[in-house]
Amino acid sequence: MDFLVAPFASNVFMQNAFVAGLLVSVACGIVGTFVVLRGLAFIGDALGHGVLPGVAIAVLLGLPGMVGAAGGAIVMILGISLVTRKSSLSSDTAIGLLFVAMLALGVAIVSRSRSFSGDLVRILFGEILGITAGEILIQLAATSAIAFLAALCYRPFLLLCFGNEQADASGFSSRLFHGIMLGMIALTVVVSFKTVGTLLVFGMLLAPAASAALFARRIGGMIAGATAIGAFSVYAGLLASYWLDLAAGASITLVASLIFFVLFSARRLGEKGRAASREDPHHA
């Protein structure tokens, strides 16, 4: 059993990675739940990629990546809200184009850097094993802010799951609280990209929450389930990365996605089984 604990017990960088990963799991568990329930996956994806040019500019200028990510996220949120307000018909297409453009811009900017491919891989897939204590503190603050906002806005967020009208008719401005939710997605992406990367943060946002949605019967239960699945993914992914020498961020996201597909198949099988036993009363 030593191999399950020893990598963390004897390496500070593994401990830091685990703590950072746990914080990502909490933030993504909370925000991902509402992203999944409201069908905002595409916007989450767009935000994840939209921060790339910001990070790239920050890398070139020697600024902290998080500052650049925040700038990129703000530009992306403004772009998304402009696009969704002006053209309700083709907003999916417009958001899709927006994030492809931001991704391309990011890669174009990074290609000016001397260490092009190394920088790009770090941005896209994170460097969880190089997380510092200072970065963990920033993550802790951001995760606390996300938890606080989710508790504060729980009612309007729940109403928004049923549609903007439900929120507005109950006296909660759908525009205001949708904006707050976008801000929370952006904050999650900004503080998580260093850990799991801009490409994979989307997986952590979606996979644990979607897995929990398969079985949860309460919103609170779904958040708790998503956080637990995320935390387990971080642990198992780090372990796999340590022993098998795999990229850490990718391993974590892979475990989270695998859990989703296993649970998804299990549920489908369960449903089929129930349907079969309904049709055939002699079937045990």
Partner: protein, 258 residues
């Protein structure tokens, strides 16, 4: 004189600058029920949304309980038309009904025993007690609709706006819902219902016939007459044994068959 639940003068409703129904004069007192009758796209939902404050009026004046729309969300309940596909949320039926009480408590105000009483009274009244603890995703479309009607009732509002609430309901549930609307009005609330069902309109105190314009508005017994219905639906109708029967139609889409 009783409080005016809804008072509009020369109200034009629509989306953006596109007018769907112009010049609506609507007066509805507390304790009265009103049916908005018309085919799909005739402006029923647009008018309801404007009264709920979800759409700004394009022209004219409208007062809800003496104030501009949406001034008092806890006193106005609105149930729009849902799209059942998006309803696989991890919530129990009772949680959904409880959402009807949010408007009285803001972001963090605690729901008390009075709220629980309103929630469970509405659940019982709509006959959803049996599946109150089941997740929404396990309920049929009709059962969900009953839960949503219970949510609107749980608000204990002074004005209740319902957009085709009886679609998806089976005959006993329609009966329950109609009885409840009547009882709610008798208790002093005003209620406006969008419907295709002329029988339902006949049971309301007032009826407004809509066909991209106000064809007629007044007491149901006066408004629901063949010439006005022909203008609204393109059908000819007549009363038989107290109910209205459509005996001929000029085009489809005039009956609530969904």
């Amino acid at each position: 004189m009783r409080e005016m639940a809804v008072l509009s003068r020369g109200l034009s409703v629509g989306y953006g600058s596109e007018v769907i129904v112009p010049g609506i004069d609507l007066e509805l007192a507390a304790g009265q029920t009103c049916a908005l009758v018309g085919i799909n796209g005739s402006g029923k939902s647009t008018l309801l949304k404007t009264l709920a404050g979800l759409l700004p009026p394009i022209l004219g004046e409208v007062a809800i309980l003496g104030k501009p729309p949406l001034s008092m969300p806890s006193r106005v309940a609105y149930l729009g038309q849902f799209h059942p596909s998006g309803m696989a949320l991890p919530l129990r039926a009772a949680d959904v009904v409880r959402m009807g009480r949010f408007s009285s408590h803001g972001l963090l105000g605690k729901l008390g025993s009075e709220d629980e009483e309103a929630v469970w009274a509405a659940i019982e009244a709509m006959g959803v007690t049996k599946f109150a603890d089941l997740p929404l995703s396990r309920l049929s479309g009709g059962q969900r609709q009953r839960v949503f009607i219970a949510q609107a009732l749980a608000r204990r509002a002074d004005l209740i706006l319902l957009d085709e609430p009886a679609s998806n309901l089976d005959a006993p549930a329609v009966e329950t819902y109609r009885r409840l609307v009547r009882a709610t009005a008798d208790a002093g609330a005003a209620c406006i219902v969008a419907t295709h069902d002329i029988d339902e309109a006949g049971a309301c105190d007032m009826t407004m016939l809509l066909a991209h314009r106000v064809v007629a508005y007044g007491p149901s017994s006066e408004v629901l007459e063949p010439a006005a219905l022909l203008a609204t639906f393109g059908i000819v109708g007549r009363y038989r044994e107290g109910g209205l029967v459509a005996v001929g139609r000029e085009h489809d889409g005039c009956h609530d068959g969904e």
